[in-house]
Amino acid sequence: MTGTKPVQARLLELVRNQYFWGIVAIALLLAINVAADPTYLSIRYNDANGALVGNLIDILRATAPILMIAVGMCLVIATGGIDLSVGSVMVVAGAVSMEYLQNVGAPDSVGAALTAVAFAVGISALLGLVNAVLVAIVGLQPFISTLVIMLAGRGLAKVITEGQNTTASNDGFRWIANGYVLGLPVVFIIAVVIVLLVAWIVRRTALGLMIESIGMDAKASRLAGINRRGLLFTVYIGSGILAGVAGIFATASVMTVDVSRTGYQLELDAILAVVIGGTSLAGGRFAIGGAVIGAFLIATLDKTVVFLGVSSSATPAFKAIVIVVLCLLQSERVRNLFRQRRAAKASAPKEVVSA
């Protein structure tokens, strides 16, 4: 009616948007850090290696692996599934590359680094394939199929490294996680490029539409002639490959694979990032952008807890708060409560009579 209404409506839409709360949460965390240390946001340039240095850069670096698995997880969840195996796939990928680099013993060879990457990605794709077969052909629930690969995967990593935390040295491989281009960490640039590539494939082809369609309504999609099996293969193998890349990121930064800690429980962070980003665990509409924000939020949360001097093992408690608050915001019951209150306010004068 009045000119203010569209603005209000637009604001309301913004507030309803899941990204919005994620961004609010990130801003809040950064504000807390600034309060603790006013120089928190400062970034300086290191002339020695051409790198930007600062807390924000650290956050970008920490975001990279979570970003990879969150994007893969987002597509899996959109089909109505879940992939619990990504953490274990990370460690397998790390183990394979470290083991290869240690044995090939060529610390400067770019070829060796590329071969290591190829091996890591290859085995990750293979593990994704196993998930896909279990889900799409054997017909097991995604939860249990990927749980099996989660358990077996970590064992496999230990077998590959004979239970040791394997260390290797290769400049090229190390550069992936520790190098800088244009002052930014290479690892972050690679991650962004991959995310953009995935987003481009998903949205420019009909893949995204098909995934959402089977996640929303498997029955109607089948009648529309959609090949669910093929899509599940694409998505689970894709999630495996992205987890493999995350594994490379995680191991390359220290050039060591820690068979019991690399990627441990990161599947939970990935699921969390996806849920924060507004993709429902029930499947259907997905938001890669939301998952990206979710990944940033988790990395920021991790770094903030450490920065504030709280033990990093206490981080999960803060994650729990984030989950509960976001779930409550999503729940019909709470939304109805708000709606009723607003409605009651709006129609209060009229209600007096009928009440």
Binding site: A206, M210, D217, R222, L223, A224, G225, N227
Partner: protein, 512 residues
């Protein structure tokens, strides 16, 4: 019978859902010791009325009296406490438990050490015996029983709760003759014990065999209450369809004979069938022909259509398409062979609610191409623009979520989805159900135009006059099988088909 106060009395009941008035001032009375059948076509409001009586839906206005007392029912448990038990078509029992556990669930006999299973099973045996089901061992798993017997078990469960009113919602739709007879024996026994039974069925023979009284609903409105013996079949069908006998006869005259000369066959199905849904059936379809499937709900008309599209896998028969034997066991395969199928279940099997109009429209074309060969923006706009315009979709906004469109417009979008795949054979199952008159006429016109262009069409509808008006030939189905194939012509009217359905199986003096 029926001298005292009714045990259930529903007065002037209205229920609305967003955009639809599901029940509009409906009255219903049920007496002790009678079998009372609720009749009506799809969307007439039968199940809404039942859900109002069982407390699943809240009524907007009206009154429900049980044993003369007004009640506000708030849920199944509440209705059960008031003595109303329901047995649904898709038996709502737990297949993972035993027969006895199911009968007694929530009413187990308890002793000092928790549930006393011996006494509980004894009570279950008693309850089963009360219905003449002595031969069942209550310790056997429920899943070992056929659906028919499971239904009887569900009825014994209702008797354990000492129900005075028993609602049987389409209990016979998947039973064979013997099973139906067993069910009727049980129903008569209960009726004689004074239980009031509300029965819903689409099978006229069964309705006449078992019920004492009928209430007919049409389009959510009360049509009338009759003693079964005073209303013959043809009159009943007229009441359900809402045309009196004279109108029924005059309808269909206007249909023009648009295809005289024989055309080459497109599809020939031989012995196509699937256990439990349709007996082996032959279907022949020529190019540019509209083949109507007529029959009441549950006659097998939908089941047959689904087999032609591979929506269900046939377990017998072969299909020859364009002279070649073709495997149509999945929708994707059928679509690749230029067959399209629009399901009667628009909400669950047609539209994908959360996708936009554009996405819903291009879905089948895109699925046919594969995801890696996306339709370009321009191609999409072309397809979407073309069909939104041709089919007159309102509002013509492709980015709107389809769930926000009216039923008729959703149906038009779906029609567009299938037309966009350029089908040679288009199967339309109830394309005009539950949509407004204008949209209905538009869809009918589209069907006629398509046939003119050479597309073969299978047309299914509960409205016989619609089938008669559009079809070149009509395949009549009843009780899961084909009972007749009629060449359409000026002599064929909705009434002819009603007569075929009503007479089939009735040995002596057919009505009409």
């Amino acid at each position: 019978m029926a001298t005292s106060l009714p045990i259930v009395e529903m007065k002037d009941i209205s229920i609305s859902f967003p955009g639809v008035k599901a029940l509009d001032g409906v009255d219903f009375r049920l007496y002790q010791g009678e079998v009372h059948t609720l009749m009506g076509e799809n969307g007439a409001g039968k199940s809404t009325l039942i859900k109002a009586l069982t407390g699943v839906y809240k009524i907007d206005s009206g009154q429900i009296l049980i044993s003369g007392e007004e009640r506000r029912l708030t849920g199944t448990a509440d209705a059960q406490a008031a003595g109303i038990a329901t047995v649904y078509q898709e038996v709502n029992l737990c297949a993972n438990l035993t027969i006895g556990e199911n009968v007694m669930l929530g009413h187990e006999v308890r002793g000092p050490f928790g549930i006393n299973w011996r006494a509980t099973y004894r009570a279950a045996t008693e309850a089963l015996k009360g219905l003449g089901l002595d031969h069942l061992d209550p310790r056997q798993p429920l899943s070992s029983l056929s659906l028919a017997v499971q239904q009887l078990v569900a009825i014994s469960r209702a008797m354990v709760t000492k129900s005075k009113v028993l609602i049987l919602d389409e209990p016979t739709s998947s039973l064979d003759a013997n099973e139906v007879e067993n069910l009727f024996t049980v129903m008569r026994r209960l009726r004689d014990q004074g239980v009031a039974i509300l029965f819903v069925s689409h099978f006229l023979d069964q309705v006449y065999a078992i019920s004492d009284r009928l209430t007919v609903l049409r389009n959510g409105k009360y049509e009338g209450e009759y003693l079964t013996r005073e209303l013959d079949r043809t009159a009943l069908i007229s009441k359900m369809i809402g045309k009196d006998f004279a109108t029924l006869k005059s309808l269909g005259r206007e249909r023009q004979e648009h295809h005289g000369e024989p055309r080459e066959p497109l599809l020939t199905a031989t012995d196509l069938g699937r256990k439990g849904s349709i007996e082996p059936t032959d279907v022949e379809l020529r190019r540019g022909e509209v083949l109507g499937f007529a029959g009441l709900l549950g006659s097998g008309r939908t089941e047959l259509a689904r087999l032609l599209y591979g929506a269900d896998k046939p377990d017998s028969g072969t299909v020859v398409l364009r002279g070649k034997k073709t495997d149509l066991s999945t929708p994707a395969a059928a679509l690749a062979n230029r067959i399209a199928f629009s399901s009667e279940n628009r909400r669950d099997e047609g539209i994908i609610r959360d996708l936009s109009v554009r996405e819903n429209l291009i879905l089948a074309v895109q699925a046919k191409r594969g995801w890696f060969r996306p339709l370009g923006k321009k191609e999409q706009d072309e397809i979407v623009g073309k069909y939104l315009k041709e089919l007159n979709v309102r509002p013509a906004d492709p980015e709107r979520a389809i769930r926000n469109l009216s039923g008729g417009n959703q149906q038009k979008v779906l029609l567009g989805r299938w037309l966009a795949t350029k089908p040679d054979l288009l199967i339309l199952d109830e394309p005009t159900r539950g949509i407004d008159v204008g949209a209905k006429a538009e869809i009918q016109a589209t069907v006629a135009a398509l046939a003119e262009e050479g597309v073969s069409i299978v047309f299914i509808s509960s409205e016989l006059e619609e089938v008669v008006r559009l079809s070149d030939r009509i395949l009549v189905l009843k009780d899961h099988r084909k009972i007749a194939e009629l060449d359409n012509g000026p002599e064929i009217t909705a009434e002819t088909i009603v007569a075929v359905i009503a007479e089939e199986g009735v040995t002596e003096e057919g009505a009409a």
